[in-house]
Amino acid sequence: MITRKTGKSRKNVQVDFSKAFEGLKKKLYSDTAKIIQEGFSDIVIDTPIDTGYAKSNWFVLFGDSPGISAPSKDGGPYRSEGQVIDDGSGIIKILKKNGFKEGLRFYNPTPYMGMLEYGHSSQNQFFIRRSVKKMANKISSIR
């Protein structure tokens, strides 16, 4: 809400935009978080499956936090698709609450992730690039 105060002399007018900006900021954070959550879900869902190991290794990390070592590929059971998405969404919610003051990254330590993304025989080449492009386009069109 924009509030206006007019002084007695009518020469002294104050307009307070702070509440309006606060509302805009909240909407911006909310829209951005939604797009990032959808992007993360898309990447997890689109990760090619053989054993489910690569899909289970997706994480959302704060910008500067160290990466996570790949757990051993021991036949599982691995984290389910829903669990991976829920865990990532939890981190995105924290970042949203903090106003995206820290960067975030999607991280996957699976050693053969490059083959899944770029390999000619992969089930779903460029699945990461596709999600990132869609996220970028959606974020740039937030109004």
Binding site: Y118, H120, S121, Q125, F126, R129
Partner: protein, 136 residues
């Protein structure tokens, strides 16, 4: 497959004169890969499509693509051949504006990733992005 996809693949087919054989395995052509033959494996992935104007029914459309141009090379043959093939692909696509019969394509810089063993070959992932405007 969209006409704009067919035309840019046709451009590749018409202009690729190097020894690796183009494998159209990603376009419904079966290929029995032989370890004695080197291949160029194109694939296209639509990244996003956006209607840019209203009304949508007549609005221009921007389509973004990633094009893979992976090389499958004989194992243990070093990198000199890779460099020469990459140079040819760069000259064909990197940062180029290409016009075909019906479309104009704007390409990003070509990118070459770290290679890995894949079956009987060593695979070099090569990719380039492009966008194209169309009315459909």
């Amino acid at each position: 497959m969209l006409l704009l996809e067919r035309e840019i693949l046709g451009h590749l087919s018409d202009n690729w004169t190097q020894s690796p054989v183009i494998s159209w395995a990603n376009f419904n052509v079966s290929v029995n890969y032989s370890s004695d033959i080197e291949y160029l494996v194109p694939f296209l992935r639509n990244l996003d499509s956006q209607i840019l104007e209203t009304p949508a029914s007549t609005g221009a459309v921007r389509r973004d693509y990633a094009m893979g141009l992976n090389l499958l090379l004989k194992e243990n043959t070093g990198t000199s051949a890779v460099n020469s093939y990459v140079e040819v692909l760069k000259n064909l696509f990197s940062k180029k504006d290409i016009s075909t019969a019906n479309y104009s394509y704007s390409f990003s810089p070509l990118e070459v990733g770290p290679g890995f063993g894949q079956g009987p070959h060593f695979e070099i992932p090569i990719s380039v992005e492009f966008y194209v405007y169309s009315s459909d």
